[in-house]
Symmetry: C2
Subunit: 87 residues, 2 copies
């Protein structure tokens, strides 16, 4: 499990680091991560509306950036859906 957790952390940092600050994901970094890393779990990610809706539901402090804990909520929802667990 530890390597799977490290994989998720490493990918977050890779995409978050594109615009200098590697501790948050901008909307573009988030779009690029979802499109390349979550092609099956997030349908129609090429639709800007899907990204806006996801980002809006996660960006708790509405600063246009996703912190790791905010991002982790999305991964948790996807994991719940993938595992067939109620949320």
């Amino acid at each position: 499990m530890e390597s799977a957790i490290s994989t998720l952390v490493t990918h977050f940092k890779t995409f978050a680091g594109k615009d200098g600050s590697s501790s948050t994901l901008s909307r573009e970094e988030f779009r690029s991560l979802v499109a390349s890393q979550l092609p099956t779990f997030v349908k129609n990610s090429s639709d800007p509306g899907v990204i806006d809706q996801l980002m809006g539901s996660l960006d708790e402090n509405n600063d246009g950036e996703l912190t790791f804990p905010e991002f982790w909520q999305l991964i948790g929802k996807l994991a719940c859906k993938h595992g067939g667990f109620s949320q």
Copy 2:
């Protein structure tokens, strides 16, 4: 990322399924998962007090069982610590 998420879901189900219900972790299943899957991220997991404290902090509805979303909170905290992110 998707395979890492699947790994976490699969491991949860493997340990949760030991006592029949594969949708929640009993305390013993949780202890066994932490000891074998999170040996580096959770220090002193052989100490029952560590498991009790973790379980207590996660088991939001205090039913002695951890649902996947409750368990996901722990993984998120460990991922934050591992990634050096503030929580």
